[in-house]
Symmetry: C2
Subunit: 173 residues, 2 copies
DNA sequence: TATTGTTATACTCTATAACTATA
DNA sequence: TATAGTTATAGAGTATAACAATA
């Protein structure tokens, strides 16, 4: 039971069925890996005692590279700006992030890490060698890990070609 | 700034640094792809008019293969049993799923799809050729899509070796 | 004692709509 | 008109703890 509409790409290649099968299986595998990765980070954040969530940590990590506004973060993380307001509120309450202001455009409130925030970002990592994902890649071997990374990179770039929303998404929780 | 503890695997290979870098990047890419896949399904479910969420659909899809209890589903989906209770409640309210009983073990309540539920599962698919992911794989080409699938499969099996929780996770939202 | 299903509860993640201030 | 940030609100997803029924 297929969708009756054929895309140009599908009809030009003529093997849409195979790709659906791939997509379904790849989807399943990717979701399993990502659930594992999210749980890895949550577990490590719990152990760190910093008292922050994965999303809060994702924001701090982006701010570690460069200051950014809520709008800019929302673009990079594929989230609605309103979603980030309580996240930033919490980080400010905990003293890890501060809202600053831009004299040249007073609508903007660039966020900056405090010293405490910096300390947390440097202490807790997104990925540690103890994580299931890192261990899994270790089991896989260097060559295959490299191959996988390359293929995923190409896939994401292919997604970008089709999907404006992924466009500026450079980092995520 | 590394974790001071070395795992056996890491010290035996002696290149933990490289794997951390891989893991960090692969983590990022995988999360982007999975966010895209989840959004694909949500969009399709909205369009289908069935009025169900991704998680609800995931449950129905597992029941399409064979009847299962909440406990069994929670194992396969890596979720707490309590998480699934309101999900099943909603599906039962909508008339897509029914709780039955097992005379041989009266603690168990195997879930079964109703006729309406069956219709929904067969009409809406997890993945369609219109999805960003399917399109991305199409752009990637058959050979690379196959390679990617194989590598992900090996990775998940490597995860399983390290992580009992992923063990029975055969399907996810 | 252990397991299945459940209730109660709470927290995180997420979005939409409507608003204020600024451009 | 458009953008940045916000408030209000709502809903989905998730977990833990404690309990009843059953094994």
């Amino acid at each position: 039971m297929r969708s009756p509409t054929l895309t140009e790409a599908e009809s030009s290649v003529g093997s849409g069925e195979a790709f659906i099968v791939h997509a379904e299986e790849i989807r399943r595998l990717i979701l399993m890996v990502s659930k594992t990765a999210i749980r890895d980070l949550d577990r490590r954040l719990d152990a760190s005692g910093a008292g922050i969530s994965g999303l809060q940590f994702g924001v701090m990590r982006l701010l570690n590279h460069e200051s950014a506004t809520i709008s800019e973060l929302s673009g990079r993380m594929m989230l609605a700006p309103a979603t980030l307001v309580p996240v930033v509120d919490a980080l400010e309450r905990k003293g890890f992030v501060q809202r600053s202001s831009d004299p040249r455009d007073r609508r903007r409130n660039p966020l900056v890490l405090t010293e405490n925030g910096l300390e947390v970002v440097n202490r807790v990592h997104f990925t540690s060698d103890m994580d299931s994902l890192a261990q899994g890649l270790l089991n896989l071997g260097e060559g295959k890990a490299q191959q996988l990374q390359t293929l995923l990179y190409e896939l994401v770039n292919s997604l970008i070609a089709d999907d404006a929303l992924v466009d500026r998404a450079l980092a995520m929780t």
